[in-house]
């Protein structure tokens, strides 16, 4: 690990302290003497030191300095002669350009006022800490800790996290946040009465323009927790924590009534999660063992979401193909996240002082996940009358849950984990670590047999093959890892490690039943010249999969192989060659200078996959430098560049037409094949400085800039409509999530007196995005002929902002 500026900061702090304090550093005398007078605190020079890293924007002190009174000074300590300290701060904020983008306030609120406090109490037998941040704002949190050192500790916390997706979105639905999203019957009737696709587009656009509602899409987490821990019983430590989290609000989601009929809606969130954690640990010099339990109960206050179809006022029994107003249900219904519970019982033990300085550690756990929700009916569309192909099943009412094969899900999953690690040191410079890990996910959910299902609440879908069934497949897997790593200390300053790990993965109900992976790893960690460190590692892994059974999913249900592309190998089940290289170099050639650079490169090749993901590459270069110019100024700069590339192949096809791998193009070669190369890069620049201008004034600057550019290049052999399912030259997408994020912050802190500090801060933050999905966005898309009213969106994609914020903070230290 690298040296940090903490050391530099300490030196700087010393320089700021009163001369009397520095002079107190006299050689030791034989007898203890009274402690030297404390440095000028609590608003003394020590607090204006350089005791933090100018992190260029993403760290809590720099980013939230504007919004939060929890400025770095809160790390300052109270005077030693007083057992308590209280810091209270109040901020006023002015803003410009915040606008209607929710991105600026994605996880925070920009408010006119802010306040915070920190209280600290210390005596030999009691401690208490209270920290409250952003107390009037939506992202407030409060932590109270108290106890008797070494005996009892309690922690009460409250945390609130907003998550805003979009401000000022538009929707035709009322009832946002509830389980029923309704559209005015008149609107539905008017759209259903469209004369043509172009007319439907016009009518939909008119409805959105005149009859839609504005809404903010987002939710807030509120979590309260209480934890108690005790070491009153000597080597036995007991911990207990209870927590409750509420989530309320909405998030954007899509709802469809057929391939050409999509409407974006606000998904209601009304969740509650309760958690209990408990544990007891015994620790002695040779043996430690801990037993723990975690229970988690999740419940959803809204069982289902029923949402109206803008284009239909009456139900029909078929799906809209091209003219969405001509067919489809009047509404659809989602089954929302089911209430569920999970329990985990874990044991961790470590046995030391074995031969060869050996140490054995064991971690084992058993988990249970349960969910037994009531099943909704197949559909809410009253016009759908299922006629399953097996003759014994008569037509039935698909809206009646009594016609389901079961009334409840009764889903069960059990997990088991065993992790063993044995470390030996047969010679002083040699260390061997052997490890074994077993993880099993056993899915005991019962398989239900369905005669068919209702696709998007629009039409009955029976199995393609007579006699076939639809059933849920209880996917499961078991993973075993075993390996050994040997390392040799080349000197007191270096270590060379070599390791080998074999992984075996067994799956149920997937295309590949068994995968093995062999991984070799070499690492070098060295300190050079006493002031530089080098850390390098290389990994190579080879993964082999057993036979790829591309149609197992369908065959399990009695279906024919169709319609899966038989040549495609899913990347997470494919043979793979993987390489990883990581190098990190750190140097501190002078006391006040720290330099570091890193290179990370990786590749994955799925060389036996003709379709799907073929391979990927990534390289990340990064470097930073920090320098303390004298005792009153430190500067820091960093730069990183990430480059990613994914190569992918596909084939456009449908049954009996060009590209059909079963009937027409039965080999991997086809004019309907296509290739895609997705590339992206991200450059991140950070710079900052922090200056103790005088003993009373501290100033800081921080800047960060993140720039992401992406593109997708398509290629495809050109054929005719008779031979090529994509008989056109595809254009590439030069703009794929091209994002610019800039953050600049300047702040000045002035110590008005021993107990009062004022801070003035300015922040400029700008966010911009260019993407083929944000370019030309309209609520109701339409093709050039005015048709294609297949979707109504709410407008929840991220929006740009350019905000200026100024804050004044007063802090009182008592």
């Amino acid at each position: 690990m690298r040296p940090t500026l903490g050391r530099l900061a300490m030196a700087a702090c010393v320089g700021l302290w009163p001369a009397s304090a520095v002079e107190a550093q006299e050689p030791a005398s034989a007898e203890p003497s009274p402690p030297p007078s404390a440095p000028a605190t609590s608003s003394g020079g020590a607090e204006v030191g350089l005791d933090f890293w100018p992190d260029a924007g993403f760290g809590r002190p720099r980013l939230e300095g504007v919004y939060s009174p929890v400025v770095p000074d809160f790390d300052a300590r109270p005077a030693p002669t007083r057992p308590w300290a209280l810091h209270v701060s109040l901020s006023g904020l002015a803003e410009d350009g915040v606008g209607d983008s929710a991105k600026l306030e994605e996880y925070r609120e920009i408010g006119a006022w802010d306040a915070g406090l920190r209280f600290r109490h210390r005596t030999e037998g009691f401690f208490a800490d209270v920290v409250g941040r952003n107390l009037p704002l939506a992202h407030r949190d409060l932590v109270i800790e108290a106890g008797r050192p070494g005996v009892l500790k309690g922690r009460l916390s409250y945390d609130q996290i907003p998550h805003n997706y979009a401000f000022g979105a538009r929707t035709l639905h009322t009832g946002s946040g509830s389980g029923r999203l309704s559209i005015d019957d008149a609107v539905q009737a008017r759209l259903q009465a469209s004369a043509s696709a172009a007319d439907a587009t016009t009518r939909a656009r008119g409805a959105v323009a005149e009859e839609s509602f504005a809404l903010d899409v987002g939710h807030t987490r509120k979590k309260a927790a209480l934890a108690l821990g005790s070491r009153a019983l000597g080597p036995v430590e007991v911990e207990l924590e209870v927590a409750r989290e509420l989530r309320r609000g909405t998030r954007p989601t899509g709802g469809s009534f057929g391939l050409a009929n999509t409407v974006e809606i606000p998904w209601p969130i009304d969740y509650e999660t309760r958690e209990v954690r408990g544990g007891v640990e015994y620790a002695a010099p040779r043996l430690s063992a801990a037993l723990g339990y975690t229970g988690s109960w999740f419940s959803n206050e809204i069982d289902a979401l029923r949402f109206d179809n803008p284009w239909r006022i009456t139900d029909s029994s078929t799906r809209a193909a091209a003219s969405n107003f001509a067919a489809g249900p009047s509404s659809g219904q989602f089954d929302l996240a089911p209430g569920n519970e999970a329990h985990t019982l874990g044991l961790t033990a470590a046995l030391g002082r074995l031969p060869w300085k050996g140490r054995l550690s064991v971690a084992a756990s058993r988990g249970w996940m349960r969910q037994d929700d009531t099943l909704l009916p197949y559909t809410v569309n009253t016009a759908v009358v299922p006629v399953p192909p097996p003759a014994p099943v008569p037509p039935f009412d698909a809206t009646d849950p009594a016609n389901l094969p079961a009334s409840r899900v009764d889903a069960r999953m059990d997990t088991a984990l065993l992790n063993l690690r044995l470390q030996l040191q047969p010679a002083s410079a040699v260390r061997v670590v052997a490890h074994y890990r077993y993880y099993d996910l056993d899915n005991r959910t019962r398989a239900l047999v369905f005669p068919g299902f209702v696709r998007e609440d629009a039409e009955w879908r029976a199995p393609d093959t007579p006699g076939a069934i639809f059933t849920n497949l209880p996917v499961a897997h078991t993973r075993r890892d075993a390996g050994v790593e040997g390392s040799v200390d080349l000197s007191s300053a270096g270590r060379l490690s070599l390791g080998y790990t074999r992984r075996e993965l067994d799956r149920e109900f997937r295309e590949v039943a068994r995968m093995d992976e062999d991984r070799l790893r070499a690492a070098l960690d060295a300190r050079l010249l006493g002031w530089a460190e080098l850390r390098a590692s290389y990994e190579h892994a080879r993964r082999d999969a057993s036979d790829y059974d591309f149609s197992q999913h369908h065959r399990r249900q009695g279906e024919a192989e169709f319609p899966v592309l038989p040549f495609l190998v899913k990347w997470d089940e494919a043979d793979r060659e993987q390489d990883r290289v990581q190098v990190l170099a750190t140097a501190s050639p002078a006391e006040a200078l720290v330099l570091s650079a890193s290179l990370t490169h990786g590749r994955n090749d799925y060389d036996r996959s003709p379709f799907g993901l073929l391979g990927d590459r990534f390289t990340v270069y990064a470097g930073d430098a920090a320098y303390a110019l004298g005792e009153r100024l430190s500067v820091q700069g960093s730069y990183s560049r990430e480059e990613y590339r994914y190569d992918q192949a596909g084939r456009s096809w449908s049954g009996g037409r060009p590209g059909d791998p079963y009937l027409v193009d039965t080999t991997p070669e086809s004019l309907s094949n296509w290739q895609a190369r997705e590339e992206s890069s991200t450059d991140t620049i950070g710079a900052g400085l922090l200056a103790a201008v005088t003993d009373r004034v501290r100033a800081g600057l921080a800047f960060s800039y993140s720039r992401s550019d992406g593109s997708i290049a398509y290629a495809s052999p050109l054929g005719t409509a008779a031979t090529d399912a994509n008989a056109f030259v595809p254009a590439s997408f030069p703009e794929v999530d091209d994002i610019r994020f800039r953050h600049f912050q300047a702040d000045v802190e002035y110590r008005l007196g021993p107990r009062l500090t004022a801070s003035l801060a300015y922040v400029w933050e700008a966010y911009d995005i260019a993407d083929f999905n944000t370019k030309g966005f309209v609520f109701v898309p339409a093709s050039t002929d005015g048709a294609f009213a297949s979707a109504i969106f709410m407008g929840t994609l991220p929006r740009a902002y350019n905000a200026h914020l100024v804050s004044l903070t007063l802090r009182l230290d008592l």
């Binding site: 989602f334 996917v475 595809p730 969106f793």
Partner: protein, 328 residues
């Protein structure tokens, strides 16, 4: 749907309040005995096992001593703490020769925790007490194997919360994990740079039983802690989702929405190219692009906006009898 668990019934607010009262009472009791033993803010009397009175150390190292005094290490009422053991010598070794030699750098062979000191020597004093709890699986863990010293991350004298050497965990961890620093600034991110989550929300740098030092039995188990709505188990599972959330998401940050590792629809088409729309070449034709047509002017609902997720919404799993394709 929405069946509420039967366990832990009742009003939680009341339970929480009751627990808080119990906590307050316990703390109060603990405090009463603590007060009697304490001379506020003053160093405790020398521990029996110390060869040199800590008050002597502070004559020269008063700044270090001050931070020690205010940290958990300086509480003599806590039996295992250095203050109750051999004070400064608990970590730095016998100081007799150092004092007799008049002090100074290198005098008396004290353990200094400087970079030049072998990592094993630097870590040994810490592990004497902290080889338990969160640190129980330290030996043989990723950081231990790479010769990371406790003092590389913790500044025992004058550190921040948890004695970290940097004010926040992201600032500390990204000193070595430099690529993550850029990821945290990306458009789609967890609220880490807002200070609501930290590295240890998901990782235990002191060692775990799971890869990448994830502090749960599996990656998914860690994600479920906050995203319990995706836990299921579901009637219709999406197999790669159940195996690892990382198949589709990069939790450190992404330029794509929802922390996705690739752009939709290509992300989905890595695995799904069935007959019909899922296999289609979802792009504009070159003439359309040349004419300046946006994707919203094309007949490609699977391409625009959130692509496949416009319709396949329940991608984490569906409990609906008609949710075979995760539409419902």
């Amino acid at each position: 749907m929405g069946a509420r668990p039967v366990c832990l019934p009742g009003r939680w607010q009341h339970r929480l309040l009751a627990c808080a009262l119990v906590l307050a009472g316990a703390v109060l009791l603990a405090t009463r005995s603590g007060r009697a033993a304490s001379a506020e803010g003053q160093p405790a009397a020398p521990a029996p096992s110390a060869t040199v009175d800590a008050r002597l150390c502070q004559q020269c190292h008063w700044d270090k001593f001050q931070s020690y005094l205010e940290s958990a290490h300086g509480r003599s009422g806590d039996a295992p703490s250095p203050a109750a053991q051999a004070q400064c010598e608990s970590c730095h070794g016998t100081a007799e020769r150092h004092v007799q030699g008049g002090g100074g750098r290198g005098v008396g062979a004290l353990l200094t925790f400087a970079k030049q000191t072998p990592v094993a020597q630097r870590n040994a004093p810490c592990l004497t007490c902290h080889e338990r709890g969160q640190v129980a699986l330290w030996h043989g863990s990723a950081h231990d194997s790479r010769k990371v010293a406790c003092t590389d991350c913790h500044a025992v004298h004058g550190g921040h919360a948890k004695l970290l050497a940097q004010p926040t965990e992201p600032q500390l961890c990204t000193q070595c994990h430099l690529p993550v620093r850029g990821a945290l600034l990306k458009s789609s991110h967890h609220p880490i740079r807002e200070g609501k989550l930290a590295c240890t929300s998901c990782h235990n740098p002191h060692g775990t039983a799971t890869e990448k030092l994830v502090s749960a039995a599996s990656v998914n188990d860690k994600c479920y802690e906050c995203h319990a709505e995706t836990r299921g188990p579901f009637l219709f599972e999406h197999p790669p989702v159940r195996e690892s959330c990382l198949n589709c998401h990069d939790p450190h940050g992404s330029s794509h929405e929802y922390l996705l590792v690739a752009k939709r629809p290509l992300l989905c088409q890595r695995c799904h190219q069935n007959a019909g729309h899922s296999s289609a070449l979802l792009a504009r034709t070159a003439p359309d692009a040349a004419a300046g047509l946006t994707v919203y002017q094309l007949r490609a609902p699977a391409l625009v906006y959130r692509a496949c997720n416009n319709c396949h919404v329940q991608i984490h799993g569906s409990n609906h009898p008609s949710g075979k394709f995760w539409h419902r």
